[in-house]
Symmetry: C2
Subunit: 361 residues, 2 copies
């Protein structure tokens, strides 16, 4: 299997995304970005035992002896509290502005380690080493970093681009099925919002992806990162188009928040959220029945939930009121005018939303 | 007394600094920057009773009803914990990405409210309303925001420029003498690092400044902000020249940390720190005896400490090891080759420093 590379072009903040097998064992990808010997690996207690030794062995051959900072596994630990543990460790080990943080793990680790790097001494370099499908296709690219607040997901954060993203596809062989499916939600998202050709390919290739066929996965990751890079290049700080990447996320974040972070995986909530967005788009006369069916079918076929969990409409709305996309008190949703045609809608009233959500239970 | 304005030129992040009397009562300066009605005033329990009503009355006339977020007064409250209180309040009041934070207070409030704005929903606008001499001449200009960590000052932070700085000189009439003197430390700093003409003026004008003469204070604030703006424009993210603004701060931060934040005021520690930097520069043969004497004399005349408090050399060095300017384990100091001629020095060994600090006790 070959290694594929693409560039996220953001002027002086540009960086490569490298996708391929066994990348964690190849320190030559990392060493050019380590300006000195002080390097920390931020990871969690599930991921580190799987890949930490390989990564450290390679770095050791290159003369780099990183410090390990391990957090408990799970979205419920993506908190200010965990962040403090990272700051404490960096300071205890004498890290300075030229030190580098390696984020080894899924989206939770990438977001949290990235935010720690964004804010430690007002910003130090970091590198994304995503080990889940979801983080390889979405959260590791684009520079969004954050922790959660009890009142909402990713409420505290910063834009801070990594120096390089290494998506080692070999890490996916040990990924639990449930997490593989959760990652596919974000892959499907790119087809739905802006790439109908990729959506067609996904409909045809879903069985290969679920069977973890290496070249199918590499293609899906590459096309996802290409789509994401194009969106981020056009709108790094989410003033406009970048908001489309939130398809399914307004409903999804509300589901995650209402159930308690970590009950459903982020990708599961986004899967159900995309179905809700498609159904609302259909109800509003925007999305045809055929495209709605294709959406429901592919999300169901990926093994993702297509129905809301047992949450009241009012509770859902309460969380949606705190969504970061909202402006001047209006709830902003990403809706669909067709497969590959997402847009931002701020015109749906609370009454219509409550009525829609009540019918969905 | 006239209002004076200067511009901090940072491309799309440029902003004005307005200096003059009674500015807090003039909402016309603020309203153009409030894109909607959700506005928070972050302040402390000492400052808000003095100026909060005036500020809110003016804003009320313009139809803006801000939310108040009050923190306890003091450097010891510039913590992650206080930051959480600000996040909680912003979320409880439904703040979004277009909401605006007003920082009403001294450097602690400006740094903390600025960091909250930098990281709330990945960045919202904020406005500096500095009410102490120190914050009017230094911390409110330049976009450095931060909170302290038990292992070091300003260790957690971000660069986030305000939309406007309003330095209302009327607030200085109620400023305690001790805080006025602390502010003068940063004013003197600009003369020492890069503006010998301003240093001459300060030597002559110190009695007027201590007597709170309005036009002398306005001139000192304007010249300080002009010097700071020039440095920040050349090096926004402290890759080089901006580090010179840290004259006296490596020693000063160590004094603050060792005594416990809040025991000495920041400006007091910087005053003593600048004397230490000048004496070390003299000992190293860089600074002439005449310039050392002028430095010691003006800092003493401003009523600032010119000797280290009762701290061991080893304890000082322990804090200096964590300074953000350090690179690759070397302590970087700002030293003087003359009045107005500061430079960054990374060549002073720990042994020389320990020996120097031991002699100072």
């Amino acid at each position: 299997m070959t290694v594929r590379t693409l560039e996220v072009r953001l002027a002086e903040r540009s960086y490569p995304v490298v996708i391929g097998p066994n990348l964690l064992q190849q320190p030559e990808h990392l060493v050019p970005y380590l300006s000195q010997r002080r390097v920390a690996i931020v990871s969690n207690e599930t991921v580190f035992p799987l890949f930490g030794a390989k990564l450290k062995e390679g770095l050791g051959r290159a003369g780099v002896q990183p410090v390990d900072i391990l957090l408990p596994d799970g979205e419920e630990h993506k908190t200010l509290n965990s962040l403090e543990r990272v700051y404490d460790a960096l300071l205890r080990h004498g890290f300075d502005r030229k030190s580098v943080v390696l984020a080894l793990g899924g989206g939770v680790i990438g977001d949290l380690a990235g935010f720690a790097a964004a804010t430690f001494q007002r910003g130090i370099p970091f590198i994304q080493l995503p080990t889940t499908l979801l983080s390889q296709v979405d959260s590791s690219v684009g520079g969004k970093t954050a922790v959660n607040h009890p009142l909402g997901k990713n409420m505290i954060g910063a834009f801070h681009q990594p120096r390089i993203v290494l998506a080692d596809t070999s890490t996916l062989t040990t990924l639990p099925d449930r997490e593989l499916r959760a990652g596919l939600a974000e892959v499907i998202k790119y087809g739905l919002i802006r790439d109908p050709g990729f959506f067609d390919w996904l409909e045809a290739s879903l069985p290969h992806l679920l069977a973890r066929d290496g070249s199918a996965l590499t293609h899906a990751i590459f096309e996802s990162c290409r789509n994401k890079a194009e969106v981020v290049e056009a709108d790094e700080h989410e003033q406009g188009e970048r908001a489309l990447l939130n398809l399914g996320h307004t409903f999804g974040h509300a589901i995650e928040g209402a159930l308690g972070f970590g009950t459903w995986l982020h990708g599961e909530a986004v899967g159900a959220g995309m179905v809700l967005a498609a159904r609302l788009s259909h109800q509003l006369g925007l999305l045809g029945a055929g495209d709605l069916t294709r959406t429901e079918r592919i999300i169901g076929a990926a093994g993702l939930p297509v129905e809301m969990p047992d949450i009241t409409a009012e509770e859902m709305l309460g969380f949606m009121e705190h969504d970061k996309k909202n402006q001047d008190g209006a709830i902003r949703l990403i809706l669909l005018r067709g497969i590959g045609k997402a847009y931002v809608d701020a015109s749906v009233s609370r009454a219509v939303l409550i009525d829609f959500l009540k019918k969905r239970r």
